[in-house]
Amino acid sequence: MDKFQLMKDELIVAGKPFHSRLLVGTGKYRDFKETRAAIDKSGAQIVTVAIRRTNIGQNINEPSLLDFLPPKDFTYLPNTAGCYSAGEAIRTLRLARELLDGHNLVKLEVLGDPTTLYPNVVETLKAAEVLVKDGFNVMVYTSDDPIIAKQLEDIGCCAIMPLASLIGSGMGILNPWNLEIIINTISVPVIVDAGVGTASDAAIAMELGCDGVLMNTAIATARDPIMMAGAMKKAIEAGREAFLSGRMAKKLYSGSASSPASGLIK
């Protein structure tokens, strides 16, 4: 693939093109200034946000996340973090749509357990069904179960986002084989969401053929989040190019050195 083609290698989500395949969260940073600096360094265009009760009457002039990340400059992806039922998730995303003036690209996640934050795929399927019918473009966080991933695609989700490992764990990709099955069976973008710990994890996800990676903790809780954001950007690009260029076959040994076998001095 030449340079020109690579420049046009875009991630298409719900018909919208994005040049960055790195999606980032906006939580766990020291302050909004650091959030913005890290996101700028990451090159991410899609940023997740959570929907929470507004502080009434307290510091009404305190800056908000939206002041630092203007919705006109980023594609917001409101999430349903903290929701444990389909009903709560649906309610949260309807509020998000009203909050963001009809914006309908959302991240659905329904959790099953507060200790592990493992997704509840049954509730996720129920919520996805309602949200898709209600006109949302649903990017869905799920387990790395290929059957559930396919069911979510069949419902009409616009991106399938399996975990690499548990949210906030930094354990990396624990089951590359399942991810590969999902990548091979799903037509909409497959975006690894959760579990990435460092740059090599992101590169491996992209080398497997994922369409993108969504992360938050790996950047936000690095000792230097801004430098890590840059590392992740490069890892995503390196992994993508490695995937597109088609890696060499693995073999235990080849008996074929890179230097000529002839012309050796005697």
Binding site: G27, V49, A50, A81, L99
Partner: protein, 67 residues
């Protein structure tokens, strides 16, 4: 009237007010928020018309950092 806002009961010196007046009272005018009244979203276009009454339960949300 007494209304519940984000889980806290608040007392107002009137029997009813429009959602828009309440938003102004809470100093949220011009800010980005979404309101749910008794489980139903109030679209922005209805804020000037819709009345908030005694006993109403409101949820007012915004966007915060999250993954």
């Amino acid at each position: 009237m007494k209304i519940t806002i984000n889980g806290n009961i608040r007392d107002f010196d009137c029997q009813s007010m429009t959602a828009e007046a309440l938003v102004a009272e809470l100093k949220l005018a011009g800010k980005r928020f979404a309101i749910e009244r008794n489980g139903e979203i109030i679209p922005k276009s209805l804020l000037p018309k819709l009345a908030i009454n005694d006993g109403d339960n409101l949820e007012i949300v915004g966007a915060v950092g999250g993954g």
